[in-house]
Amino acid sequence: MDDAAKRMADCSEAAERALIDSAWAQFEALVARHRPHPTETRRSFALPGFRVLREIHRGGQGVVYQAIQESTQRKVAIKVLKEGPFADDSELARFDREVEILSRLNHPHIVSMYDRGLIAGHAYYVMDYIPGRSLDAHVAGAALALRDVLGLFHKVCEAVNAAHLRGVIHRDLKPSNIRIDEEGEPHVLDFGLAKLAQDPNPSAEAMTVTGQFVGSLPWASPEQAEGRSELLDVRTDVYSLGVVLYQLLTASFPYPVSGRMNDVVRNIAHTSPARPSTLVRGIDRDVEIILLKCPNGAIKVRANWPAIFKGT
């Protein structure tokens, strides 16, 4: 390389390093600003055979950590019951039920559980780690064509149907509980609110107090929003899937979901969705018919999704 070319190459490398340094400085500043308080650090989790990397989610019941299984170098997620040895019987029973439900499920588009246990009084289970984005972020970011969105959605429906065939109702289906991996494949997550259609443990029904809302309101069926747990069955999930698809195709909800909770519940129960074809172009009549059937207040009207989608 002659001198001029070498100088140019050196300048290019220096310029590239300057860009990396700038990005690095921003990242380091962000980490320094949000470094966990020492008491939070003490709450970090350790499990033999796994190298815990970081906390990735802290919810009402549990904390989820990202980790590497040392024997296989596989990335996993470990969910730990938050209260640890101080968890009461109902919290332990709910966690056990989540584990039992996940252990029944074996489908390429449902997150798999590998192991469970108790360590230092902390109940935990180990599952797939799914890097990637939520379903709605993926669809918006990749600007997918209608056909591709429907193809992706069909896989989600097949996964949910597989759960239903095992007697499992998810009860919290929404875009953030469906992650898309780097290969563009969907994975249904978070069976923390799931129930068994025929629960052998009658006391499990008592976990949901009559009139108590369980789920995520914008995607909840009318019977779910009204806390009528005795009416919840697989069609509850069908309703939620209908709302998710409506949201993916129109970038809006079938009815207003902001405002006072009572108003939202009333909207869910009584407001007819706007026809998707009036909101966006390119939604054909067949898809619109399916779309309007599923977020439908009348339970008996809701269609059998996987079978219908096969024909689309």
Binding site: L19, A29, L53, R54, I56, G141, E182, L193, R260
Partner: protein, 205 residues
Amino acid sequence: MAAVDPALLNKAVEGDTAALRMLLEHFGGDVRRRISGRIDKRWRASLDEDDVMQVTYLEAFLHVDQLTARDGAAFLTWLTRIAENAIRDAVRGLSRQKRPDPARRLVAPQGVDSYVGLLDCLGVHTATPSREAARRDAAAILESAVAKLPEDYRTAVRLYDLEGRSVADVAARMSRSVGAVHMLRARAHDRLRHDLGAASQFFTG
């Protein structure tokens, strides 16, 4: 493409950002060569490769948890995909700017309404006992989430979404191109949606 030490890759996959930095220095030029020419001539006055590469590097640090590459080729693919997504975000923003939606931004949002507007834009919804409480909630929750953004993302969101400035004004204040502002805003929104959990914080029982 020169070979890379597998130990360095393994460290980066485990979340070692110092190792990741070395990999970015090693492969950055290769990614730049791959994206060279991908920016359509229509947009070159508003977006350049330096803008794309800086956002790419920042995104790489922010998403190191998603890195699973075990060899140099896989790492190069991962990094190139980040750069391509950044270009796509910028072009989408620039295209929308050319064809403004008449229903959007007729009036620049003000005060708490700008927070509510941003939440709507992100697709995040609240249901609290009163509309006024919902607006106050939106402001508090967003302030917390915006504070957790990297500096460039935070500035783009504050100036455009919360203060209602034009893209050109934001670009001038940040000493960046218009295309870069679109990219930064798109990445910031992605991050906010993820952190806010698309309404799950507000409703899950």
